[in-house]
Symmetry: D3
């Protein structure tokens, strides 16, 4: 559930951008009193995501429009399925159409890609697929929601949600132990401390210094298995960076706890959805 005010603020910015000067095409061709029904239709197999955003866009154009959800969030829809319906002023529906679709085609795209990753895990796998902070500027809260809707998990929300120590931080602090020590002292006790390691030696150092999560950077498959063994019961193991679908089964079998995939949000192709309009009279 995304709180209304959060949603509205994102949606209004988008409408301002497309509709800030009005819509002369619609104003010219559609009579003021005309009403219509618009049905958002899937044009391929998708995981449905974005109903509340769809609703919020149309409500921001005209609060008297009526919305209904025809396919639940996270369900799989196939070509031709109706996802959501909007009824009321034909002008208002046409004015909000593009902005509404721009949101939901992206969110459904992310949810659908997330589902593909999750489905690529072996049955019973306990490995978690997560997003990263590589989200679209301004849309993070929506994109993280889409990732969850697709069945994957979220990584930390913002820079202040958890500590993630990367190579530059380690160098600046003067070593793995010192970086972890400093972070533990400054960060909230509610934050886990994650650290990126580049070798098994660095891993050991991180585990000894009490890291909660270790992120393996560019480890060979064998080294990953060894890392998982060493970390067992001491820290979670995360693999990140350019993980393709076909590597997931192996990573899962290695016992990796988390695979984080930037592509979930930065490169999910938008899905093609269309809004079919039917006149409902004037």
């Amino acid at each position: 559930m995304i709180p209304r005010a959060i949603l509205t603020s994102i949606v209004e910015r988008a409408l301002e951008e497309d509709l800030g000067g009005g819509d002369p095409t619609t104003e010219a061709t559609v009579d003021e009193g005309a009403t219509a029904i618009g049905r958002a239709v899937a044009k391929a197999e998708i995981i449905v995501c974005g109903g509340e955003v769809f609703r919020a866009v149309f409500a921001a154009v005209d609060p008297t429009l009526e919305l209904s959800v025809e396919t639940a969030e996270g369900d799989r829809a196939v070509r031709g399925d109706i996802l959501w319906t909007v009824r009321g002023s034909a002008r208002a529906i046409l004015m909000g159409e593009r902005t509404a679709l721009n949101f939901v085609q992206r969110l459904s795209g992310i949810a659908t890609l997330a589902r593909r990753y999750v489905d690529a895990l072996p049955p019973g796998s306990r490995t978690r697929v997560t997003d990263t902070r590589k989200t679209t500027p301004g849309l993070r809260v929506l994109e993280r929601y889409a990732v969850r809707t697709g069945g994957a998990s979220n990584h930390r929300d913002t820079l202040s949600s958890a500590v993630l120590i990367k190579d530059n931080h380690i160098v600046a602090a003067g070593g793995i132990g010192e970086a972890l020590h400093r972070a533990r002292r400054l960060a909230p006790h509610t934050s886990k401390i994650e650290i990126e390691v580049e070798s098994l030696e660095a891993l050991d150092e991180a585990l000894d210094a009490g890291a909660d999560i270790v992120m393996l950077d560019n480890f060979a498959p064998g080294a990953i298995e060894e890392a998982v063994k060493r970390a067992a019961g001491r820290a979670l193991v995360e693999v990140s960076g350019n993980v393709t679908l076909d590597r997931l089964p192996e990573l899962s079998r290695s016992g990796v706890n988390v695979v984080s995939v930037g592509a979930l949000t930065h490169s999910a192709p938008a899905l093609d959805l269309s809004l079919r309009l039917e006149a409902a009279g004037a």
Copy 2:
């Protein structure tokens, strides 16, 4: 050139989202006075786009950071090329890193895809590849800029920039002629009037009623050639919808004036760029 205030407002929203609560990792591990040099590096062959946004992000974190452009906008860079450099407070560079990269990986992704489309046209082609309004909510002005940087062209900016009459508008107005007549009367004289047509008969009706641009919806290749002939000297011909790279040469040879491609903005995969940091002392 994107005016500074426009850029700043987009960039600040993005920083608020990621950095609004501060960055405890960096605050803990990097000393306050430490300085560094960060170099944005291409990790694949790309068309470079986004230098001004990169600059604006870091300036919004800390106005004393110094930026320099190492590869010009629109140039092709290969793996390992340095695109931009930022110098100054190591803390500030690390805090702005992710937000800056989130922008430029998307913009370079769009520019690179746009270039691929343009390069797929036959030599000497006069066909124009354009974007659509299927842009990321909140980032349209940047994404349209990236399309131009890649060498492709822009379609109308907002709903109020030009008239584009689609099937629903035609039905609502009571026909092609009436829709065009009404639009001509209401729209600014500076707006071109474009109309979507689904058959050669509809095309003739649109041409007779004075459409400036006709958008062919789902025409067979032969029908496209015929449409181009009929429209010659009377209206521009645009083809839209799911145009893949390999169809471009044929469309160009048919004489189509414009091919609009939603994928340029809604499905360009982000390109992988990284920021390499080097300590510069304290």
Copy 3:
């Protein structure tokens, strides 16, 4: 129709400005439960404009207020006519009064002036009177709406809606032909290209280079007629700059397509409207 979110954002800014610190006068003198009816009354002959803005202001002060439209947008009202009615909390009505009137007195002023210009055209004239971008900062979408409500037309909305090449651009580009060529290449195919010309020679050059619209700068009446002849069938002819009402018939008879009038928005005097309150009990 102005989308709700666009309207609300403008209206809230205005309320913040006047009412951000509350209204001690009303809070002191009017009991919390008191209700009233407020009637907006014309104090002169006017073209009515702004009902939706009037509604939006009061809704932003107190969403339980009830609004009704007594005179339709664009209709002519005479002194004493009731335009709109607002019912509900007397405090809320008094708090929103000035802001609501500040909007509608300006919009009705513009609509009324626009109507005077349109009425000054000879019967059957096909000349179009338009506004310019000389609008009040922050209120453009409303003022353009008022111009249309008065029966006149809009010029381009923003700098990105169409191309308008002025003398400085011509000089910078190195001539009329080069400026038009460059603009055609960069601008969206949906944008018309307008260019300002200062002589018949420049006009010919612009027509030869394919300008869609020519704006005649300071042409003598005879030269205007000649220009219209030369442009016939090739480009629209626009006259701009200090056009007074009494010149309109002659310009229309010359065959000028468009007369753009900055005064419609930058110098329309506000019309005097008042809100008559009647207590409705407590």
Copy 4:
């Protein structure tokens, strides 16, 4: 002096409105490195107002532009006088031109009208001409500044700056005495209490109840003189509503302290200013 952040926020909103989608005309016709000098020139006799806003607009487009003031705020300029100069990127100057002029043509219009009212007072007059809250939504702080620049005075800033009891408040409170009593109790001790009166009897009641200022509503000239006598030493006398220039001398001679004129801000015609550009090289 208008604090920078206040100014910037108003100016950025205006730029967003006109320039949010960029300026393809300028981008096409003017080379990136070209520089120019722009001179704002008066096209009639005016009281100059708005230099800081002019500066803020261009700074928001491009902070490297250099501005200089050629005619001081509040000075009289004649046709051809240069008011302000801007130097730097030709593109940036052209992009900001219209927005900058839209502000200063309005502010100079207000200042010039204010000066005409002040100049219409007899020599040595102690009557003060003020504005009202009938300002343009979103621009109040600027318009009040323009009124002062023209030599006139400001009325209360917002609803919370002072108490002004009008007829509806009196009726709601149950009479003049009760309204004044209530207002005195609730309002800050720093607020003056003004009340509108419709007769000499009402005036007496208001004076007895301790009003600080009385606003005479629709009094005949003789009654005004009498009112001034009765109020002398007890309250300031303000006359409001449709006061034309030619009535000012008589009102001043009657001893009226304040004449408030809504037209100063709601109906001042914009003054024609232009920006003359001269190329400065590339």
Copy 5:
């Protein structure tokens, strides 16, 4: 009454801050359809303040929540009293809880402290206790409302609501008389002019120059009495700065008109309120 739009804008900013990334705790543990009743309960004796803000927070999270006021604004509540009730989605109630309480614990804290000051005045006292501009950045309109709710009064709202000349202004202007003269000339006639004085001589000078209010800075008790005598019938006397509760009776007996107390807003401790939730089914 705080206008809705003013309230909403403050409340949305606060929600963005706490809830901008969603609430995984609630999303995980509470089913989507679950409903609940939340009751805000006093945990000590308080003056109740903030019902409208409480309502606005929950409405911004979910507009379908139902709110009811159980104890009126300004009433005294004791430990265990229910102040307000919210019913509806259990998730929405839990998501808004902290933000709602953060507002009302502060506002009730201020109202309660204000009441203590007012109650410390002798019976029948005509001395007024007021706040100052030492309010929390961003919350002034709410905190001033809380001061009134507690029974105390407001000082000037903003820098532009009234004139208050302090020592630095006096020095800059070249003396008390000159400062008052200049302020009278520039400030609106609706503004009272207050001036800070440091001695009885300065007081006389201020009274002679027509100050409306004199603020006594650091006067000994005897000097205060003398100052009140000299100012009687000429100006209001305000005492400011570190006034503790036990000094109020004496100041009141001295005839001081106004005692302004910064602590009302800058140091009122938050009161402990809690929200008791009861499941209402799913």
Copy 6:
């Protein structure tokens, strides 16, 4: 380090509130060209906090003002010590004075109170004192910074930064084990999971279900000691709610890891700072 854009946005909102209508007192009494030096002076013993905010306020009023830090953040200052200095336009300094002080008096108040709590811990104590989410709406990032500056620690930043399961969540989920299980599944792997427990039995259940942190609600001193023993090596122990300074030593000796104190932010009294101005010439 608070990123500039984050700071500026908070500061501008505050200036808008106080200075949005200008400052007639200063404009009247201080000449435009006058310059001054302002020194922020401690009026009691304090822990200094807020230099960057102080700087940002004045920069937003007038970017040409020069600021210097005289006492470092987190240092102890005594009555009379100069904390920061601002030089430049006397008008600008006076206009920003109150807003700047309103920020720093609050932040220094929080830092000073935080230091008192930390100093109350026994020497060598490993117990951590933290804030809570009971912060001032709109100022959280600043108040958390002040807590750290005082030497205490932060709790979770926002609702999405970590999981904190309270009694209502436990009831909704159907028990401690189920609530923890659900939270672990949904929350990011980077989030710690904290849970509130009301008895030793509940504590055991929480520990068995893998809670990372247990918050003891209203435990007797003996029970706290027992809880610490049971949790040792399994989870952190936090005590929250109405912890006064004198209980800290005992809690520390019990081995409690974290004591969270809402009063640090919601009830820290503002400290009295003043700005001493000295004219620097004109």
